[in-house]
């Protein structure tokens, strides 16, 4: 198999590695993969955690090793890329669409510095109203905030923007 083929296979396999906390998103959707290479018949993958304290990181690394290893029949090394830090603009458009369909509002696009105002009037994933307010910047997982929609009366979660 050529190296290009192997790398294409690795990407296909990575699409099957889901975030245990948001099972509709895979690690590519989340922008967690920073590099894929094949050296000496070993797949080397660099990844970055979304939050420093994310408890799912080692589980995700293990999943990557298992699934990519199974799909390519090669040994897989997964390491943390310290040169890149994760921010919420790394979420792909597909990821945001999947999030909304899952009932979680997507993070707003930010330009470098994040201001508190960006969290206001987050569109409700249920009725799309912007007549909403931030109830708490902390939710059921580190990456979520809690909002309230004044139009449909629903409490909803948002994948929060992070600079």
């Amino acid at each position: 198999m050529t190296a290009e083929n192997t790398i294409a296979n690795v990407y296909n396999a990575l699409e099957q590695v889901m975030d245990p906390e948001i099972p509709v998103l895979n690690v590519l959707d989340l922008g967690m993969i920073t590099d894929v290479a094949v050296h000496d018949n070993t797949v080397q993958i660099k990844m970055i955690p979304t939050f420093a304290a994310c408890p799912a990181v080692s589980f995700i690394q293990q999943q990557i090793r298992e699934i990519v290893g199974r799909e390519t029949s090669l040994p897989v090394e997964v390491s943390i890329d310290k040169d890149v830090h994760w921010h919420s603009n790394r979420l792909s458009d597909t990821a945001k669409e999947k999030l909304r369909n899952f009932g979680i509002a997507a993070p707003q696009i930010h330009e470098g510095e994040l201001h508190a105002e960006i969290m206001l009037n987050t569109p409700c994933p249920h009725c799309s109203s912007k007549n909403t307010y931030l109830r708490s910047p902390f939710g059921s997982t580190l990456c979520r905030a809690i909002h309230y929609c004044k139009d449909c009366g629903m409490v909803f979660e948002q994948f929060k923007p992070v600079q």
Partner: protein, 252 residues
């Protein structure tokens, strides 16, 4: 030499995060409203994660121990946290004010570390700064809301500020190695951080109509950085490490 000074700085920062993270977690199940229960629990998770990341730098770059062993097996005198983080959670107004004062100090510190000449700290600070935005956002919103409520609510926030202020000044306890760290461009030093911290909390206190004690008239509560602690720390360490010490070699 400089490596020892960097390690000492990281231990202080990490111990503050670990101990306050543990304190915050004591609100789990007890928060005055559900959102605050969740917020303090989330911030606990963040802080303990930050402590772990710092202990990890010690291990990988400065010949330190395994982070779990280091966090749970040290003697009380080997902890270098400040007294502010050791205090019991008390009432919600105390915990909220502590969170406000500490997290602004923490945000300032990581902001400055983005220019650090020590690369691992510089890289980590970039990551943590974005997360800390939510901590200060949370603290500011509640301080303002409770102060604007007036009456007992306002009076309790003012009393909590007066109680916490000398303790919070203790975050910036000077150390013997500080000048070496400043000269090496590791960080700007505690005095500078203290100044920047005052500039960061002052506008929020003004908006909340709280009277900040005159920093010149406040006696900072020092001692933590040299391993002298309040009686509260030993009890906390006892509880925090209880399960770990049952079998320190267990794999989790």
């Amino acid at each position: 030499m400089i490596k020892n000074a960097i390690a000492a700085l990281i231990i202080q920062m990490a111990d503050d995060e670990l101990i306050l993270g543990h304190r915050n977690s004591e609100w789990t199940g007890l928060g005055p409203i559900m959102e605050e229960d969740i917020a303090f629990s989330s911030m606990a998770q963040d802080k303990i994660g930050h402590a772990w990341a710092l202990y990890r730098i010690l291990q990988e770059q400065l010949n330190g121990e395994d982070p779990d062993q280091f966090a749970f097996m040290r003697a009380e005198k080997d902890f270098k946290c400040c007294h502010l983080v050791e205090m019991p959670i008390g009432t919600y107004d105390f915990s909220l004010m502590r969170h406000f004062l500490f997290d602004h100090a923490e945000a300032i510190r990581y902001d400055c570390l983005q220019q650090s000449s020590f690369e691992p700290l510089q890289q980590l600070s970039k990551k943590l700064k974005g997360e800390l935005k939510y901590h200060t956002l949370h603290a500011d919103a509640w301080i303002l809301q409770l102060c604007k409520a007036g009456g007992e609510s306002y009076e309790r926030m003012q009393a909590a500020l007066e109680q916490c202020f000398p303790l919070a000044a203790g975050i910036f306890e000077p150390s013997a190695d500080e000048q070496a760290l400043i000269d090496a461009g590791i960080y700007p030093g505690e005095r500078e951080l203290h100044e920047r911290w005052l500039n960061s909390i002052y506008p929020v206190l003004v908006k909340a109509s709280l009277n900040m004690p005159d920093p010149a008239g406040v006696k900072p509560q020092y001692g933590g950085r040299s391993g002298k602690h309040t009686p509260h720390l030993q009890a906390l360490l006892q509880e925090m490490g209880e399960v770990f010490r049952l079998d320190p070699s267990a794999r989790w």
